[in-house]
Point group: C2
Chain length 202, copies 2
């Protein structure tokens, strides 16, 4: 019996995800320039032709990875902001979500590393760099507004809210890269001293 339309879509989505996951790991470890479609083929167990069927080039895979990561991060930030809870709770959820995300999602470190490289080096696709330039500020702006609101509510420390956002995202990026390096040896620090950077009563 031939696959139904829904089944076909499911197979396609799964293949696309498999290519993206395999390529992410290769890009992070070998680098974009050293990764060939043939490596992605070996890594995913799919033929090169099948890989090309989904993505015309490795650069397209790369751009898709960066775009997805930015979209996911910004969606989470905007959803957090919309919640009808005190700013203090939003800060707790943000810190917990960002830090525990490093452990729960094994690919998180690889994403942070690719984002860092793309943001800083011209040797990555300009299209991906441009997406970061346009979208990276969203999460900073959301957290700056949440920290400001918390200062009004008296739960967040009186430090310029932009600086608190810079500390938060710098720390999480640094921890992600640290985890990428130390791997199984990496211990996620306790959340409490980190919450203490931001909250009057961590």
């Amino acid at each position: 019996m031939p696959r139904s339309k829904t089944q076909n879509e499911k197979v396609k989505d799964e293949r696309r995800e498999k290519i993206l996951a395999g390529a992410l790991s290769l890009f992070a470890n070998k680098g974009l320039s050293a990764t060939r479609i043939s490596d992605i083929s070996v890594k995913t167990g799919m033929s090169q032709g099948l890989v090309y069927h989904y993505f015309p080039s490795k650069e397209d895979i790369f751009v898709k990875l960066i775009g997805d990561a930015l979209a996911k991060m910004n969606e989470a930030a905007l959803n957090l902001e919309k919640m009808e809870i005190p700013a203090e709770m939003k800060v707790r959820l943000a810190v917990k979500g960002l830090m525990e995300g490093l452990i729960h999602s094994p690919a998180a470190s690889d994403y942070y590393f690719l984002m860092t490289q793309t943001a800083l080096s011209e040797s990555f696709p300009a299209e991906a760099r441009e997406m970061i330039r346009k979208e990276n500020d969203v999460k900073y702006n959301v957290m700056t507004r949440i920290f400001s609101q918390g200062q009004v509510e008296g739960s967040v420390k009186q430090v310029p809210a932009e600086e608190l956002a810079t500390i938060l995202f710098s720390l999480v990026n640094g921890l992600a890269l640290n985890k990428a390096y130390y791997r199984e040896q990496f211990q996620l620090p306790d959340l409490k001293p980190v919450l203490g950077i931001f909250l009057v009563e961590p």
Copy 2:
């Protein structure tokens, strides 16, 4: 009148420094693989032959940059540890030195970026990667001992000292990469909330 031996040494040192500084900026912005000796020649205003006289290859320049950065960081850490002052003061000096170093030394961000890439990606010289593997732990171990001592003295918060070291170096690395991205827009956060991560009385 020909240059004296001392003058000759001075000229050589200056040229070597100039090559290293120019190459650091190129490696950080264009990437190692896209950087040619001819780019370093243009950047430094020195002939390609003269660049090759000091370094046989761009990889040798790269390895020297990583080696120098590790040596400088470890020397600073070990000197700090030897000082006859309370652990609290050492923590203050470490946080201040690491954070303000990002501003005072314009090349600091580039160094952090190259170190991060070398540590994580196989597309950089294995010799540099091996140096990081051997020497990166020195600064972690020094700060872990200082935090432990501060806990004995009652000035450092009761959080596992290794975790405090992980937070410190992750935050500084994250801030360095943030500065590399935002450049002139980057604002170094106030030291006080950062000291508050570690010290009972920041």
